[in-house]
Amino acid sequence: MARVDAIVGWKTITFGCHIFEPGNSVKFRTGDWRSQRPVLDKEKCIKCGMCWIYCPDMAYNQTEDGYFEVNLEYCKGCGICANECPKDAITMVPEEG
């Protein structure tokens, strides 16, 4: 199961299960569902950003040198980025253990 920061009981759960704080989905780290992870080959990457655009969990961030780096706290291992990369620069490798 996924890790969440706020585990609450039925007496403390918010009214109607409403969320009062916008953007709090960052607290919901989906990374531990993953069975495989994307690994980037910088030699092939052209910094086009397709991986960043297609990732459904917005797990990619651009670094100062222009490459896109995956945040494994949120990557669920779906492989969409690897599939969409026009240069086959991303390989999905199984998570061990």
Partner: protein
Amino acid sequence: MAKRIGIEVSIALAEAVKLCNVDVIAAYPITPQTHIVEHLSELVADGSLDAEFVPVESEHSAMSCCCGSSAAGARTFTATSAQGLSLMSEILYIASPMRLPIVMVVANRAMSAPISIWNDHQDIMVQKDVGWIQTFAENGQEAVDLLIHAFRVAEDRKVSLPAIVNIDGFTLSHVIEPIEIPDQEDVDKFLPPFKPKYRLDPRKPITMGPVGIPEIYFESKIATNEALKASKKVILKAWKEFEEIFGRKYEPIDAYRTEDAEVLLVTMGSISETAMTAVDVMRDKGQKVGLLKIRLWRPFPIQEFRKAVGKTPILAVVDRHLSLGGVCSPVASELKTLYYKVPSAPKIFDFITGLGGRDVTVEHFEEIVDKAKSFAKRRPKDYYHYIGGREK
């Protein structure tokens, strides 16, 4: 002074909705609809009710629209029946945990097939677990009163849950009865403006209806259930205040001639009036028979029911729903659970009757009481019994 007039119950209900000054009515306007929303659409069209009337393309959309408008802070009403209620079902489950105080009248009718537009409780009994407050009206006056009460309770900040007022289809919805339409002034005194705790507001965005991952779903359901159970207090208090303002008294369970009774009939809805006549007839013949009418169905008034039963040895439960393939039908099933292994519990027998608009007569109630008495002496082999259904 409120005037008593002869009026169709559906029209009276629409007038009561107007008195409650609703903001939004969303409804599927054709079969299986009643005159309730038809009349409301007229009231909106002729300008006598300042509300938004949304004629949607299905009951599923009607309830979805109601959820949206209630979430935005609008006093919201709809009505439906039978198959229409089934089509809403998916969204009924959404309104309650989201704490949206929508009020709905359900004109209880049979479920097709075969195609039926007549009365029984099959439509609502499959929706008993949706988390809505539910009451059953016995006559037109009660329907109007329960409707006004429903808005008051549902919108109370301590409750904030949707509510259904059940009225028997045709037997109530399409008949003309003498009804006292309350004065606007009194309704305003009883029903304050709707001020929800939270509402959708672009200036202060919140999320309603988020995903409930396994870590939170269970707690969310418990919270809804506990809120529903706790609503009984507010329901009772509101009925007390209703009595003070309008002079009519309502309780979760109505007891009729129950003193020293050997058998108590248990009914819901309009057949309770026939049952009262039947009790009078049987009492005249010297039989010790009484009647319990369940007005509040959800949350179920456990203590009040137990108190009303007292030491009565036999309960004859009249179910107007058939649990196909089940052990017995919902009302009897819950009452049997309520008394399971309770010392000196009454013997409870389940009678299925009045399906699809079949009349339930005084003679049927006499037959029920006779059977219940003989079953108490000799345990029947079946868990429920059909009354008035021909075999050949």
